[in-house]
């Protein structure tokens, strides 16, 4: 296992070191893919997005400032690439906006009621509700909840204040719980 720190690998990659860049990819692909999956909502698009992120990172290595965190920079590229792709996709599909009053998802024909517990169903509903959040809220949610970033780190990635991150998280949760309330009541402990 390669034990060189990120900083050294970044230095080598900036000089054109493909092997060092490949190691950086191996180290960070799960994080990038995780955010891309939350943003894209499906595995195929997430895969394409993650590839695009690393290609952009490779092309932009020279602009990476030494001393700053590589993963923060990579997350920023991931969020920006995702937002750009989603905008493009929305222009093509003209997607409906988030509506608190809509029921979450239609009954899925593939689900076997015998096998799926109510908690599993709730997880699916939460995924659908999250997919319907405004993009910036979803990106913030992905960084804070999925990736475990602090508000300060998420703010650095998103280029906004900690206060904005805090507000987006609050707003996202308020929207989610309003939309999922009946299912959440069912699963109260």
């Amino acid at each position: 296992m390669d034990e060189r720190p990120d900083e050294r690998l970044v230095d080598e990659a900036r000089k054109g070191g493909r092997e060092a860049f490949a190691e950086l990819v191996r180290r960070h692909e799960r994080r990038v893919y995780g955010v891309a999956l939350r943003m894209a909502g499906n595995v195929a698009d997430a895969d394409d997005l993650a590839q695009e992120v690393f290609l952009t990172a490779w092309k932009s290595m020279a602009s990476f400032r030494s001393g700053s965190s590589f993963y923060t920079w990579l997350y920023r590229i991931t969020v920006n690439t995702s937002l750009t792709c989603l905008k493009k996709r929305r222009r093509e599909k003209n997607r409906a906006p988030f509506d608190e009053n809509l029921p979450v998802g239609e009954p899925g024909p593939a689900e076997d009621p015998e096998r799926s517990s109510s908690l599993t169903e709730l997880t699916g509903r939460i995924g659908q509700a999250l997919a319907g959040l405004p993009d910036h809220f979803r990106a913030t949610f992905a960084l804070v909840v999925d990736q475990g970033l602090s508000h300060a780190d998420a703010a650095a990635v998103l280029g906004c204040s900690e206060n904005t991150v805090s507000w987006r998280m609050h707003k996202a949760r308020r929207l989610l719980q309003a939309r999922l309330k009946p299912y959440l009541e069912e699963n109260r402990t």
Partner: protein, 202 residues
């Protein structure tokens, strides 16, 4: 503490971003408010169940890396380009120029107050620096957007965000309006009409 504030704090608490002082006040509120306790339970459940199961087999990661390698090869094995770096540098040059304008405006204001005239050559000096940058930004929308962000970051630095414990006006976040439903908006309109005694356009 009002329920609205308590719920904002509950969200911060879930993210581990709540300071000890507000946390104590939140707990006091929760002891007396069953609705907020239920809200905490609901958002806690969402938090627990929201985690992705993004587990992929080692084989699929290897395939991902191979596909990426192939794309990098297809780019002709070129090293990292300096284009991004140049754009970033131009962005900073633009931000520096904006700072110069601020300094010039401050100097002008001070001189005006003291009654002294502003020599024309002072403005000409800034004009020489700014003109090529303004032209570059006119020709390159990406550069202009980058410059806007840099200037925005400088303003953020000069005027830091308020204390997290302070009252936050939700409407100050541009995305606040984006996430509101029609019912929310109708409620806000009704509140405003009630407070001001004036109706909106018919």
């Amino acid at each position: 503490m009002r329920c609205r504030t308590a719920r904002r704090r509950l969200s911060d608490e879930l993210d581990g971003a709540l300071a000890p002082g507000p946390k104590v006040r939140l707990e006091v509120h929760l002891q007396a408010c069953p609705a907020c306790r239920a809200y905490r339970e609901r958002i806690g459940l969402i938090q627990d169940r929201a985690k992705f199961s993004d587990e992929r087999s080692p084989g699929s990661w290897a395939a991902f890396e191979r596909a990426l390698e192939a794309k990098l090869d297809a780019q002709g094995n070129k090293g990292p380009s300096l284009e991004g770096w140049r754009a970033w540098s131009r962005g900073w040059a633009w931000a520096a120029a904006a700072a110069l304008v601020l300094v010039a405006m401050t100097a002008w204001y001070v001189l005006q107050r003291s009654g002294g005239p502003v020599p024309l050559e002072t403005w000409n000096a800034y004009d020489d620096v700014l003109t090529p940058l303004v032209q570059a930004a006119d020709a390159d929308l990406e550069l202009a957007a980058r410059a806007d962000r840099e200037v925005g970051a400088m303003i953020d630095e000069l005027a830091p965000a308020p204390d997290t414990d302070a009252v936050v006006l939700p409407a100050a976040d541009p995305l606040f309006w984006e996430g509101l439903s029609d019912d929310d908006l109708r409620g806000i309109v009704a509140d405003l009409e009630e407070q001001t005694g004036r109706g909106g356009p018919a």
